[in-house]
Symmetry: C2
Subunit: 221 residues, 2 copies
């Protein structure tokens, strides 16, 4: 057992998040107990890796038996901080912002969208998701503070990303998830994560172009 000041690999955290999904699926399939081998197969991670990942945080299994599906799910949620509600605001309700606001998965996992902001006057007041009306950007700081927003999601164009992040910081958020292709700067006490969908595609393009081309199947004559 560990969990003191030891540094946990970021990859481990990413996998833990995936484990939750697989565990929930396995639970639905009726597995009350899972082995690291079964879970590993289900989420394409080696059994040893799973055990190692978990061992950073404690002992959750029973030797010779495995892990209780529901319990392990709960425990991983505690590790990740998903055992609470995270009040979240989103800025920039364009195509992507709209999709994220309507992504039910978030709500189910403890992220509560408490407000959405946009600078386009035509959008103000629109109900973008159930019970959520778009507010003018000018209200961001006050509303975020009032709602004790912990997380801010940035889906504005790159040119507005920095100013948006600044507002979110002023609004008191502790973390920012930035989808804009611009490396924003935030104060030390605010945690920043960038999501780059483009670079995922670029990565795919690289893999495709660097591997042996494969003849496209011809019509059978």
């Amino acid at each position: 057992m560990k969990q003191k000041g030891i540094k946990i690999p970021e990859a481990t955290i990413k996998r833990l998040s995936a484990y939750i999904n697989c565990l929930e699926r396995l639970d639905d399939k009726g597995y009350q107990v899972v082995s690291s081998e079964l879970l590993g197969e289900s989420c394409q991670v080696s059994p040893a890796q799973i055990r190692k990942d978990l061992s950073y945080f404690g002992e959750f299994g029973v030797r010779g038996v495995g892990y209780t599906t529901k319990t392990l799910t709960e425990q991983i949620k505690v590790i990740l901080g998903l055992d609470r509600i995270w009040p979240t605001v989103l800025v920039g309700v364009g195509h992507l912002g709209h999709a994220l606001l309507n992504f039910t998965f978030f709500r189910e996992h403890g992220y509560r969208m408490v407000a959405a902001f946009d600078s386009d006057p035509r959008k103000i007041g629109t109900e973008v998701a159930e019970g959520l009306h778009i507010q003018p950007i000018e209200e961001l700081v006050e509303t975020s503070n009032r709602e004790k927003a912990a997380i801010g999601i940035v889906t504005v164009p790159a040119s507005s990303a920095q100013s948006t992040a600044d507002l979110l910081v002023e609004g008191g958020v502790s973390g920012i998830l930035n989808f804009a292709p611009f490396k924003v700067k935030v104060p030390e006490h605010v945690t920043l994560r960038n999501v780059s969908i483009v670079s995922e595609l670029d990565n795919l393009a690289y893999l495709l172009s660097s591997k042996k081309p494969r003849r496209r199947r011809k019509k059978i004559k």
Copy 2:
């Protein structure tokens, strides 16, 4: 100079994609030549890291001077395979699919959306992006083959992800970008990448919950 069978770190590829963005921004600002230090500052990567990343593929700079902004941009694009058009299809035109289809960045970077499919009969025929009409899922295999689609993007619910991936493989794509939270299986010759937006948020939640809480600033009385 290298670039034989040597394995390139995945992180390097991810950064190269980011470098392109920063280089284009610096070019706009008038920098015809950039040093690894300037580029590093701009995209928050250490200068040494940048030089190392590039050194996997060749020598692109001039000692004592730096890199020619435009040339380096082009060269990175060649490395990543972005010097060509990638015919791309998307399956599942829901909230996220709609956003991706309207993401102009993709087109500008060489990804050409050649078709979009959905299983919902009410959506068929709708023009979801400029000149792109939603087709029934039954047409996927034939259209993809005809259009020589190289990349398939999966934005269907998790429960349909595997069957969708299977269809894309039959449609002849070489790579799949999967946004559904389900680990699909594809044949050896098809490259798969999963994008998990949820795990990005979960990672943020983890970082927030494991760091010292900071008192929310009180109103000044």
